[in-house]
């Protein structure tokens, strides 16, 4: 069988560089958590986590040169998750506190 030329092998150096990047970003997360940025704490931590996740998805899970279908699997999952979060957050924020008069 010679039709599998599409299985391209990624250089080991690329994987190693991504590992180093992920380790550096982990240290950055820990360092950033030592300072208090107020409400931005959560945003900063989740932002760094998303960069790390993007590296894992793109290189380790090979989404960079993969089929678009795999992108759509990930994208639709994330989309519906954001929808769930958005609608749930709107519900919580817009609730009016009721005082029972009975």
């Amino acid at each position: 069988m010679s039709e599998s030329h599409e299985h391209q092998v990624i250089p080991a150096k690329t994987y190693f560089n991504v590992l180093l990047t992920l380790l550096v970003l982990t240290i950055l997360t820990v360092v950033a958590a030592q300072f208090d940025f107020g409400a931005a704490n959560t945003i900063i931590a989740l932002f760094i986590a998303t960069i790390k996740a993007a590296f894992v998805f793109a290189v380790f899970m090979n989404l960079r040169n993969d089929s678009k279908l795999h992108w759509m699997c990930l994208g639709s999952a994330v989309f519906f998750l954001l929808l769930l979060y958005g609608l749930a957050a709107i519900d919580i924020i817009t609730r009016v506190e009721h005082v029972n008069t009975l």
Binding site: M1, E3, S4, E6, H7, V9, I10, A12, Y15, F16, V18, L19, L22, L23, T26, T29, V30, A33, N41, T42, A45, L46, I48, A49, K52, A53, V56, F57, F60, M61, D66, S67, L69, H70, C73, L74, S76, A77, V78, F80, L81, L84, Y85, A88, A89, I92
Partner: protein, 216 residues
């Protein structure tokens, strides 16, 4: 890296596929669809965590004090290393180097076991204090009256993740045994790649859980 010239492809693609490539792509789409359901399941828990965190920030701040970020950070590094050994294992299979593939898979299992060992240490310490999930919660020294809420989330999120690590380790043992029998080569390494994708997703979930639980 030396390439083993003795490796021959013994795998025959199933009859309903056009060829090996077609089979590989179909399998990977199946794995990705499964991963999408995994993201939705963990995502639902994480959304609940974020909502409750915004409603009771003082409860979550107090609960997080019982967690040692050094253990969480160590576990993050362990899982990142395991993701790297996993991807190198897949690469070894792609380059017909079964011996190296077995070694990398073994290293991945060891890192997974170290992760679970640290988790076990953390859990037993919390149980010792009475910090159990749900109604078993018997810790009385807390300031917040509903501190149990935090630990229900903690055990639910880390427990579900830990279960995935255990399943991942079992799956890697399965592909390791097959790699030992020289079943994989540059033409056929679908199971290694599929298990690898699952393992990386478990890593990604921990990448989010670590700052959420231990740092914020």
């Amino acid at each position: 890296m030396s390439t083993d010239s003795k490796v021959v492809n013994t795998h025959k693609h199933a009859h309903h596929f056009k060829d090996g490539q077609h089979e590989f792509q179909s399998s990977m789409l199946g794995v990705w669809l499964f991963l999408a359901t995994e993201i939705l399941m963990f995502g639902g828990l994480i959304v609940a965590y974020i909502i409750y965190n915004s409603m009771y920030p003082e409860v979550f701040a107090e609960g997080a004090k019982f967690l040692d970020w050094r253990l969480g950070a160590t576990n993050t590094i362990v899982l990142l290393l395991s993701s790297w050994t996993m991807v190198m294992g897949v690469r070894s299979a792609q380059t017909n180097n079964n011996k190296l593939c077995v070694k990398y898979l073994l290293a991945t299992i060891v890192f997974g076991a170290i992760f679970m060992g640290i988790k076990y240490y953390e859990y037993t310490h919390k149980f010792h204090l009475g910090l159990y999930p749900g109604e078993l919660f018997s810790f009385t020294g807390g300031e917040a009256s509903n501190l149990a809420l935090y630990f229900s989330f903690y055990f639910c999120l880390t427990g579900m993740h830990g279960l995935h690590v255990i399943i991942g380790i079992l799956l890697i043992i399965w592909v390791l045994l097959r790699a030992k029998k020289n079943e994989f080569n540059s033409e056929y390494y679908t199971p290694v790649e599929g298990v690898g994708l699952f393992w990386h997703l478990v890593d990604v979930i921990w990448i989010y859980l670590f700052p959420m639980l231990y740092l914020i």
